[in-house]
């Protein structure tokens, strides 16, 4: 009996290591894929930087006109850091422009994804984490450097802030992937996703805290957004963690809320994907 259990254990261990190896291979492929789009990366950095200047000047003007020089509790350095780190996080979380899955659903190519031994949610997630890793190096760092060159940025004072920020950025990417995947899955039912995509682009820019920190809104609305929608967890959360806008306990609480949203959205992806696969058969795909 003992030997049977031992063999079962060994097989299970091998399955897990195989799965880890598959996941990392897919992630590495995602990284390499984006590493080949060098022109697009440079173009993206340029655009993020121009918007960084724009948003930074506008928010600093808000702080200059606000009582005590504090705009919704952020000082000038915090606002500048918020903007420049936000321009980088926008690319790391890839808030906009991912319609790969929707296109494959529309053309029927998705059938090939379903034949693979890895569930689609897992394989797309792995590739997306690879992409995010690449963006962290090439899309986050350059705008931050430009920001640091032209503006006074905020230096974190607490030891835990930088590790917390990295964790928060990872959770933001996971939750953002979840939202994007769910949005793309709508194509199983609607096929034409132009309207919902436009709505997502517009609504997300405002609600994630890209155009202005969400604390500029009335407190009750801000709280409702944090707890009732995943949006603040996609961008505002890592930025608030980085600029230490709140006391340490709240700072950690923000990351906990993000973890809940990342888990919820990824679970929803799995559920919707299973429903969609049944639906795809009905369509004769």
């Amino acid at each position: 009996m003992g030997s049977v259990t031992a063999t079962g254990q060994a097989i299970r261990t091998r399955e897990v290591t195989d799965q880890v190896r598959t996941f990392s291979a897919l992630a590495a492929a995602g990284f390499r894929r984006y590493a080949t789009y060098r022109q697009a990366t440079a173009a993206g950095v340029f655009t993020n930087t121009i918007f960084g200047f724009l948003r930074c000047y506008v928010l600093l003007a808000v702080a200059a006109g606000a009582a005590g020089g504090l705009a919704a509790g952020y000082d000038r350095e915090q606002l500048a850091t918020f903007v420049w780190a936000g321009q980088g996080m926008l690319a790391v979380a890839a808030l906009w422009g991912w319609a790969e899955l929707a296109d494959r659903i529309r053309t029927g190519d998705v059938a090939a994804d379903l034949l693979r031994p890895v569930p689609p949610v897992v394989s797309y997630l792995a590739a997306d984490l690879g992409r995010a890793g690449h963006a962290g190096l090439t899309r986050f760092v350059p705008p931050m450097l430009v920001g640091a060159l032209f503006f006074d940025l905020y230096e974190p004072r607490r030891a835990q802030t930088v590790p917390l920020f990295v964790l928060s950025a990872l959770l933001a990417t996971l939750a953002c992937f979840g939202c994007r995947y769910l949005l793309n899955c709508l194509a199983y039912w609607l096929l034409d996703l132009r309207g919902p995509m436009t709505l997502w682009t517009l609504a997300s820019g405002l609600l994630v805290g890209l155009y202005f920190p969400l604390r500029f809104l009335p407190g009750w609305l801000c709280l409702a957004l944090w707890l009732g929608t995943p949006f603040p967890s996609l961008l505002q959360a890592p930025l608030d963690v980085l600029v230490e806008r709140d006391p340490p306990a709240v700072q950690a609480g923000i990351v906990a809320v993000q973890a809940v949203w990342a888990a919820l959205t990824l679970a929803a992806c799995g559920w919707v994907q299973r429903r969609a696969e049944r639906r795809l058969v009905v369509q004769g795909g």
Binding site: Y37, Q39, A40, A43, G44, F46, T47, I50, F51, F53, L54, Y57, V58, L60, A61, V62, A63, A64, G65, A66, A71, A72, F150, D192, R194, G195, P196, T198, L199, L202, A203, G205, L206, Y211, F212, F216, L217
Partner: protein
């Protein structure tokens, strides 16, 4: 000439008919585009929750600038905004099909996809402008009335030139899509705020050298009867048509050079 005009008219009518055919899609598109400008406005209003003035301007004054800039941008975006698909045409070689037809390349590309849904945006933008001017209690003169009509039109020509000029980058640099956005959508955001908020060098490059300052800010000063905190004389408020002409000429030059440079993918 008349034949060409008729051909363009046919293209436009075909577009309108095909878009109206999918009613549900058209309605969602119309609504989501309208949402866009509502959110832009909300952003300005929310910023003014945190501060009483922005760059020395009140909310009403800022909304006059937003109204001018948004109407100009929406008109340009509706009519030629779809030129930003040029990168796709160049990359796939689809531009070949356009080049062999006996009509202008630019009008064909522009008319082959006129997003009528964006008209909702233009409508709201004009309404905002009218409301902001009302709120600002302007002393109306015939000259100011003329300026109110002229400015969005000149601004539309200016933004149209920015759209065409920055899309032309795709002839040299096929992945330039993102760079164009810095000038088109970036330009829209830039012109929505008083240029006094920007840093000196940034203002010198974008507001003056590239001309974005003349789309909304200076005409708004002339309408509001305010002196320029940056020290330029009042007649600058009337400069936008001239700036638009210069921009259009520059865009036309870049576009022609680009078309001449175009090499097919050969597929």
């Amino acid at each position: 000439m008349a034949d060409q005009f008729r051909a363009y008219l046919h293209l436009l009518r075909g577009q309108a008919r095909s878009q109206a055919a999918y009613r549900a899609s058209f309605t969602t598109d119309l609504l989501s585009t309208a949402t866009g400008i509502v959110f832009d406005l909300l952003t300005v209003v929310v910023l003014f929750r945190a501060t009483r003035e922005l760059g020395g301007f009140s909310l009403t004054e800022a909304l006059v600038i937003v109204g001018l800039s948004a109407s100009a941008f929406a008109l340009a975006d509706t009519s030629v905004g779809n030129i930003d698909l040029l990168g796709f045409y160049v990359r796939t070689g689809l531009l070949d099909a356009v080049l062999v037809r006996p009509l202008g390349v630019l009008p064909q590309l522009v008319l082959s996809n006129v997003p009528l849904r964006k008209l909702s945006r233009a409508g709201i933008a004009v309404a905002v402008l009218v409301a902001a001017l009302w709120q600002a209690e302007i002393e109306w003169t015939p000259a100011r009335a003329a300026l109110t009509v002229l400015t969005p039109l000149a601004g539309a020509v200016f933004f149209g030139s920015i759209f065409v000029g920055s899309a032309s980058l795709n002839f040299w640099w096929t992945d330039a899509g993102e760079v164009s956005k810095a000038f088109t959508y970036g330009g829209r955001d830039l012109t929505a705020y008083p240029i006094t908020v920007y840093g000196a060098w940034f203002r010198a490059v974008f507001a003056f050298a590239l001309g974005f300052g003349f789309v909304g800010y200076y005409p708004a000063l002339a309408l509001l009867g305010r002196a320029d905190p940056l020290g330029l004389p009042p007649w600058v408020g009337w400069a936008s048509p001239a700036v638009a002409v210069v921009a259009a000429a520059a865009a036309a030059t870049v576009w022609r050079a680009g078309v001449r440079r175009y090499r097919s993918t050969g597929s």
